[in-house]
């Protein structure tokens, strides 16, 4: 029996035990994740874990109780049901709750499971790293990062008949190549571990780390920037964090308020939500409630079109249920026509940003962010990377920044977000005006 079938069977078993509820939902999340973390060109933490989390939400009218456990024994399930029922009977109601989702057709997931990832051993992960360490040493570089392989399963069953289950694999490698005063970053994410080419990742990181021996100063100001996908993913959160129905209709502090239907960005900018994109290994349903996830064009050639909703927010605010967990979980930015190299070559004077850090939305209505660059910032002169720069603090309104943007023709899967665990499929972004407001004293 496949992982998702086992998980769904367990969810149904718990649901059956909760038969007395007005409504009930059971979710089962199963994880088998391994990481080989390295620093200074050796493995400093080599770890793995397996876990199962069962969550029952029990409704008595508009009152609910939610209980989680990782113990699937009959006695534990009985305790869970009793505890959830007790909470639901005692707490005041949530008047915003209308109903759990009703059954609806869920599309078949694209291929998301690879044996090469699921069967990878501790030795397999470390052996991928050995040539990477060797490459670092040839350039007198240190390193920090990890190689990971994961199997993730989620199943949802509710008392109205919803049944949804999904298993996917994911693999990744992140590498920060570290020279005495500079560094370079490169990464790979994908569901198939066999596609991971550590040499390619190592070469790119090493090239960037060794571009200069000493990082240079650059007068703070507004520059044309080329954001690599990792940096663009962080900046894009300024928009996606405000694209849930709750952000727009309840909190009212989203950049979308007053802008839906209007041209806000460059016609080059189209943001879709598409779980079936071949680079994803994503579930075709909302992993929070089991409703099918609709494919949406959220920003269409610069025009703000849609926010996303879950069953809860859709019912509460009388808007269509898009099957999302409060944010666009499957973001895809449409690629442009020119290669990354061509975009780089088109910049007379600008800055390439690999990655950012501690990015925060400081004004959600303006989608204004601040953050710090890290792990490699480079001066572009006459279409070429010419030197490594010290890091910058930037202050940018993404509403303004994406009015003049061009994307590369190559999309990659980005690192799962640490808050939501969802990735995006993104190209490089050339942005005409980016406010690099202050420079640090180091690279």
């Amino acid at each position: 029996m496949r992982d998702q079938d086992r998980a769904l069977s367990l969810a149904e078993r718990v649901l059956k035990a909760a038969a007395g509820a007005d409504q009930a939902q059971v979710s089962v999340a199963v994880s088998d994740a391994s990481y080989a973390r390295f620093a200074r060109n050796y493995v400093v933490q080599n770890l793995a874990s397996v876990s199962t989390q069962i969550t029952l939400t029990y409704y008595v009218g508009k009152k609910s109780g939610s209980v989680s456990t990782d113990d699937a024994s009959p006695a534990s399930i009985a305790r869970m049901v009793a505890a959830a029922r007790a909470i639901a009977q005692r707490v005041p109601p949530d008047n915003g709750f209308v109903s759990l989702p009703k059954p609806a057709a869920i599309a078949t997931a694209a291929r998301s499971y690879y044996d090469t990832t699921a069967d990878a051993t501790a030795d397999d992960r470390v052996e991928k790293l050995l040539p990477l360490f060797a490459r670092m040493k040839t350039s007198d570089l240190s390193s920090s990062g990890f190689a990971t392989t994961q199997i993730n399963t989620v199943a949802i069953a509710n008392s109205l008949g919803v049944r949804a289950a999904f298993t996917g694999t994911m693999s990744g490698l992140q590498l920060k190549a570290i020279a005495e005063r500079t560094s370079g970053f490169a990464e790979f994410y994908g569901p198939d571990f066999s596609m991971l080419d550590p040499q390619a990742v190592a070469e790119r990181a090493a090239m960037k780390a060794t571009l200069s021996r000493v990082p240079a100063n650059l007068k703070p100001g507004t520059y044309t920037v080329l954001l690599e996908p990792s940096a663009f993913a962080a900046a894009l959160k300024a928009l996606t964090e405000g694209m849930g129905a709750g952000d727009v209709l309840e909190d009212k502090d989203s950049w979308m308020v007053g802008r839906i239907g209007k041209r806000v960005f460059s016609p080059n900018f189209t943001l879709r939500d598409d779980w079936s994109h071949p680079l994803f290994a994503n579930a075709p349903f909302n992993t929070g409630d089991g409703a099918p996830t609709k494919k949406l064009t959220l920003i269409d050639r610069g025009v703000a079109k849609h926010y996303v909703s879950s069953t809860y927010t859709a019912n509460k605010y009388h808007v269509p249920n898009t099957g999302h967990p409060g944010f666009p979980a499957n973001g895809v930015v449409e690629p442009g026509t020119r290669s990354r190299e061509a975009l780089l070559a088109s910049i007379e004077r600008g800055v390439l940003i690999s990655r950012t850090w501690y990015e925060r939305v400081v004004d959600p209505r303006a989608a204004a962010i601040t953050g710090i660059t890290r792990d490699g910032v480079y001066l572009i002169e006459n279409g070429k990377l010419t030197k490594t720069l010290k890091n910058f603090r930037y202050f940018v309104s993404m509403i303004d920044a994406l009015k003049d943007v061009e994307f590369s023709n190559a999309q990659v899967l980005t690192e799962p977000d640490s808050d939501t665990s969802y990735s995006s499929v993104l190209p490089d972004a050339k942005i005409a005006k980016y406010n690099l407001a202050a420079q640090t004293s180091f690279a």
């Binding site: 874990s49 876990s51 989680s68 949530d94 790293l129 502090d253 400081v362 202050f395």
Partner: protein, 486 residues
């Protein structure tokens, strides 16, 4: 607390030993988190999350392997021990490495976090109604668009066993509560005021922590301030003397001192994700981190501390360790391995989020030693300045040097008195310059043990519970009022 897992532990340690581990330990965890949150008159969440599992560490030729599992049959115990050992062995494929330290002590002990009010004595209805009453108190005007309140109770039981014969049992308790109000201004701008602290009051202990947060008492004031903020001007840019409320100062300590003094980060182990540190072990005894008023110590036995334990997750007993004395760097937050590599003291700061995650160096309890004066007296002593409170956004670089903080509210200070309110009162600085400008540290009157329940670090990311106890403080000539679209 009666030990439940001694037999399972013996099987795991024996299996690891037979598989080739020269040392192994296993920690069994039983975790429980109870949450209630309310918003705009509705109970949005009432949940009770529990989890039980164990994490096995195996050491082979100086390389660690870790495996976490929530499966409790004998076959799973054997598999966990075997996989931890196999992970350790695979790390030995890299020959050029610094070997980990093999623990040798045998420790048998028990510890429980003291509490004065058992959460079990407060029913769910009472918890929810307490929050709803507090939340209602925040709706002080028509332009209040939302209000919220929440509480969390954490209970963790641990049993640690090792091949050296250690057997340590612990029951750790923490709790927290917070609330806030959002109001919309005439220009549709939404501003939020909430707390106490940066998110809420989080401390070690039982339900008395929730009561200490005093939500019902502070909500009307948060409502009043949110309404004023919604139509308040932005803070004009300028260099000002800056007074940080404890709700801001504790997060400033967290970001620009606590993280910077994690020894694994300073040694480069966390460079890819959490970053590195501008402070390095070779600078101990020499580096001036701040003014003479900057006295920071680690104390993982601190009463009310969120990270207070009897022993950490590699069986090290807490001690009070000075980290910065009169502004000079003295030590780091450490693990056995990092302390051994640098010959610096151990601080019992090795922690895992839970049974599924590997123990690592974490920011635990740090304290800014109180000095003298109340907040009121420091305001009265300030001719031209700004007092800021509550947290909205914060950002710092991966060397822990260049930061920007965005508190919720700023009060202009003129001639020793609070004046106008400003929204988005941002300030920026560079760690040693900023702490070097510290010229007043408040006394015990405003000293609070502020905890944070959600500090992220590691890959996969682990969430840790930390404490940064402090009073209030004043800093001279700070850059404030940074524009987001400058």
């Amino acid at each position: 607390m009666k030990a439940q897992y001694a037999a399972g532990a013996a099987r795991i340690l024996d299996t690891a030993n037979k598989a080739g581990a020269q040392y192994a330990d296993v920690q069994f965890w039983t975790l429980r988190q109870e949450d209630v949150s309310v918003r705009n008159g509705d109970v949005r969440n009432a949940s009770d999350v529990s989890s039980a599992g164990y994490g096995v560490r195996a050491l082979v030729d100086g390389a660690w392997g870790f495996f976490g599992s929530d499966r409790f049959d004998d076959a799973s115990f054997d598999a966990a021990a075997a996989r931890a050992t196999a992970l350790a062995k695979s790390g030995t494929k890299v020959t050029d490495r610094i070997p980990a330290v093999q623990p040798t002590e045998k420790i048998v002990a028990h510890y429980e976090t003291p509490m004065t009010k058992d959460p079990a004595s407060i029913g769910l209805s009472a918890r929810a109604n307490m929050l709803l009453t507090a939340e209602r108190a925040g709706h002080v005007a028509k332009n209040v668009i939302s209000a919220y309140a929440f509480l969390t109770i954490y209970t963790t039981s641990k049993e640690f066993y090792s091949t050296t014969g250690s057997a340590i049992t612990q029951v750790l308790r923490q709790a927290g509560a917070g609330c806030g109000v959002s109001a919309m201004g005439r220009d549709k701008d939404v501003q939020t005021r909430g707390g106490p602290g940066d998110f809420g009051l989080y401390q070690g202990g039982g339900f008395e922590v929730v009561e200490r947060a005093g939500l019902l008492g502070i909500m009307p004031e948060y409502g009043r301030e949110a309404v004023l903020l919604a139509d308040a001007p932005r803070l004009p840019s300028g260099v000002r003397d800056l007074i940080l409320d404890g709700s801001v100062l504790n997060l400033q300590m967290h970001e620009s001192i606590g993280h910077a003094l994690e020894l694994d980060r300073a040694l480069g182990w966390e460079a890819n994700f959490s970053g590195v540190s501008w402070a390095t072990p070779d600078q101990v005894g020499k580096l001036r981190y701040g003014s003479d008023l900057l006295n920071i110590y680690a104390d993982n036995a601190l009463p009310l501390g969120m990270a207070t334990v009897g022993y950490d997750d590699e069986a090290v007993k807490p001690a009070r360790v000075p980290l910065i004395e009169r502004g000079i760097l003295r030590a780091f937050l450490s693990s056995r391995d990092t302390a051994a590599e640098t010959n610096l003291p151990q601080t019992a700061s090795t922690r895992a989020q839970d049974w599924s995650t590997v123990p690592m160096v974490r920011m635990t309890n740090i304290v800014l030693a109180p000095h003298e004066g109340t907040l009121a007296s420091i305001v009265a002593d300030t001719k031209d300045g700004l007092y800021v409170a509550g947290m909205r956004s914060w950002s710092i670089d991966d060397h822990r040097l260049n930061f920007q903080f965005g508190p919720q509210i700023g009060y202009e200070i003129k001639n020793g008195k609070r004046g106008r309110i400003f929204k988005q009162p941002t300030y920026t600085g560079v760690s040693p310059h900023f702490w070097g400008s510290l010229d007043r540290v408040g006394g015990h009157e405003d000293f609070v043990v502020w905890g944070t329940p959600n500090c992220g670090k590691g890959e996969p990311e682990q969430i840790g519970r930390t404490t940064h106890a402090c009073s209030v403080a004043r800093f001279r000539k700070v850059t404030t009022g940074v524009k987001s679209d400058a």
